[in-house]
């Protein structure tokens, strides 16, 4: 059990800096997910915590101890690799027992602890097999077993599910959640899949180009994305981002989209930004079908994609192209009229120059 602290951690390869000063405090027993697009430096950061990469600048501490100069084996972390890194010539038992043998654990103890880990992961029947005789999901479990048997201070996961097919991935995601209830160890988990991040994390760290864009609970980053990047990255279907202008008139504060569509804004919050050009963020799931009588926006459907439970409609609104997630069978084909409304609180405004939330 331990906290993990990153203080302006930097990483350069030769002259090229790829991680530009990351600050992060991971609480004891917290499950933090680093998420971001490919190449943003998530793995690099994780590998620095593990001790597999030198730290070019800043400080990493596990518990109270600064570990910059400490060998990986003495950091008391366990890592699960994307391709599992199982030892191919050793059996599952030997794979799981491997680390214990170098930590002065007695034979009987090793057997007991391996059996215990195997029981937790439901792989007791596989202990005599070699990795190549296992399915992808089973290998994944063995890799997990190898990590939990150590009872380390910190778990590090580098995209552990990305080599599994979609169905198994969802299943293993649930398993990891369950596992988390039994083994409450501080964990840092890297993924580029925002759904994985949202479902697993206590807190999410959104990274982009070697910088942290936002740190917060899944609700935080969904409800109040700090930057345009976060707004575009988080959410099952991408947020609509269109140009607009704030207007503070007789009818109250509003934002004008394209050639005249008017969305009312919450009172007083954006008055200071009157007449300012902004980027407007609207989540497709927040654009709801408006019934007769409520003030609504009228548009024309362009593309209709029925998903069963609901329908994705791409429609034209005052010259802007927007996507909405609507109940099924309301809009049937391109050309149909679309009538939607959005709650003022669900409108996100960003400064187009800086990308920051207003």
């Amino acid at each position: 059990m331990a906290t993990v602290s990153l203080r302006s951690v930097r990483k350069s390869y030769d002259a090229q800096e790829v991680v530009h000063g990351v600050d992060l405090e991971v609480a004891d027993q917290e499950f933090v997910v680093l998420v971001g697009p490919s190449g943003c430096g998530k793995s690099t950061l994780l590998r620095m915590i593990a001790g597999l990469e030198d730290i070019s600048g800043g400080e990493i501490a596990i518990g109270d101890r600064v570990v910059n100069e400490i060998d990986p084996k003495d950091r008391d972390v366990a890592m699960v690799f994307q391709d599992y890194a199982l030892y191919p010539h050793l059996t599952v038992f030997q794979n799981i027992a491997f680390s214990l043998q170098y930590r002065g654990v007695g034979k009987a103890d090793i057997a007991r602890r391996v059996a215990q880990a195997a029981a937790i992961l439901d792989i007791e029947s596989l202990l005599d097999r070699k990795p190549r005789q296992l399915s992808g999901g089973q290998r994944q479990r063995v890799a997990m077993g190898r990590a939990i048997v150590r009872e380390p201070k910190v778990f590090l996961f580098d995209e552990p599910l990305s080599n599994l097919d979609a169905k198994l991935r969802v299943q293993m995601r649930t398993e990891i959640k369950k596992l988390r209830e039994r083994v409450r160890t501080t964990a840092i988990y890297v993924t580029h899949d925002q759904v994985e991040a949202m479902t697993l994390a206590d807190r999410i760290v959104l990274m982009h180009n070697g910088r942290v864009e936002q740190i917060g609970t899944p609700e935080d980053v969904y409800d109040e994305p700090a930057t345009l990047f976060v707004a575009g990255f988080v959410g099952a279907s991408a947020m609509n981002l269109v140009a607009g202008r704030v207007e503070n008139g007789a009818q109250g504060c509003a934002v004008i989209l394209g050639n005249g569509a008017r969305l009312a804004l919450p009172a007083s919050r954006f008055e200071a930004h009157a007449d300012m050009p902004v980027t407007v963020g609207l989540r497709p799931e927040h654009l709801h079908w408006s019934h007769y009588g409520t003030p609504s926006l009228q548009g024309t459907a362009r593309v209709v994609e029925p998903l069963g439970s609901d329908t994705l409609v791409v429609f034209d609104l005052a010259g802007c192209e927007l996507q909405a997630r609507l109940p099924p069978r309301l809009v049937r084909r391109a050309g149909d009229p679309v009538s939607v409304a959005i709650a003022p609180e669900a409108i996100h405004l960003f400064d187009p120059a800086t990308g920051h939330r207003l």
Partner: protein
């Protein structure tokens, strides 16, 4: 063109089979004419008394009996061949050391790799001549270096001395083949996923354990491939020995292969040489099969999870 309708030719599979046979035929013919046929004839010949211009006569195991009971050179040659084979583990270990160095972040690793490998494509005859010069008693660079450094006072006749001759020839042979071993082992090393080492590092395995529990087992097929090549080389190093010592002094560097050559082409005992060849061939098959078995039947394969 006439093409029978229906029948054998009609199915796609059979037509493909015919095509495959067509492609294979040239090499099969060559293989049959130059490998199987001589081998078969050789086996028959080994049970006969025959010399050119005389009719062959069936004599059963007499050639083998002579080998067993009367031919001291055969036993010397067999012993020398086995010593040759026994030297290859040392060569492989040395090659592994070089491969590990070249595989590390050593500056200029690519250059060293090329240099080490360069000896392999050389013709054995050239290697033999080079080493004969270097071993030379009067003008050789090795004797020069030994005397210059004060290690010896009198020159050593490496290829003339009964004790030195075999090790000297083996050394030259190892020098040539070590580049090949190194390339094989290097390929093996590079196919070991680096994150196995990272995992082991985090798991707390010290460098020694990483070598013996990851590198060596993962390299097993490559190591045994080298061993098999070593065995084959010991049976086939005719040209090197022929150039360097021609089996001498006395029979100090006689190998089975040079003994076969001399029996056949110097003494014209073709029938006896055939029997020797059968013995050498049998030994070769047994040793390579044993090596392959020891490697788990996958010599040269790359183990992955």
């Amino acid at each position: 063109m006439t093409r029978p309708s229906g029948g054998w030719w009609a199915t796609r599979r059979n037509r493909q089979f015919a095509l495959i046979v067509c492609f294979l035929l040239p090499s099969l013919v060559v293989f049959f004419l130059y490998r199987l046929l001589p081998l078969g004839w050789n086996v028959i010949l080994s049970f006969q008394a025959w010399s050119p211009l005389k009719p062959a006569q069936w004599i059963g195991l007499e050639n083998y009996a002579e080998m067993w009971a009367y031919d001291d050179v055969f036993w010397v040659a067999l012993k020398n061949t086995l010593i040759f084979i026994a030297a290859s583990p040392l060569a492989i270990a040395a090659a592994l050391g070089i491969a590990l160095l070249v595989n590390s972040d050593l500056k200029g690793a690519a250059v060293y790799r090329t240099i080490v490998f360069l000896s392999y494509p050389l013709m054995a005859v050239a290697v033999g001549i080079i080493w004969r010069w270097m071993y030379d008693e009067r003008g050789g660079i090795i004797n020069y270096a030994l005397r210059a450094s004060g290690l010896t006072t009198r020159p050593i006749g490496f290829l003339q001395d009964f004790d030195w001759a075999l090790p000297s020839v083996i050394f030259a042979e190892v020098w040539q083949v070590i580049g090949f071993y190194m390339i094989i082992l290097l390929t093996g090393l590079q196919s070991i996923p680096p994150n196995l080492y990272e995992a082991a590092h985090i798991d707390g395995a010290p460098a020694r354990a990483r070598f013996f529990r990851i590198t060596v087992p993962m390299l097993r097929p490559s190591l045994f491939l080298c061993a098999v090549v070593g065995i084959l080389n010991s049976f086939g190093s005719f040209d090197l020995v022929y150039i360097m010592t021609n089996g001498g002094p006395g029979h100090a560097t006689e190998l089975l292969i040079t003994h076969i050559y001399k029996s056949a082409f110097v003494q014209s005992k073709f029938d006896y040489a055939a029997a020797l060849t059968v013995v050498q061939f049998g030994l070769l098959v047994i040793l390579t099969v044993a090596a392959n078995r020891a490697a788990g039947g996958n010599v040269g394969a790359v183990e992955r999870d």
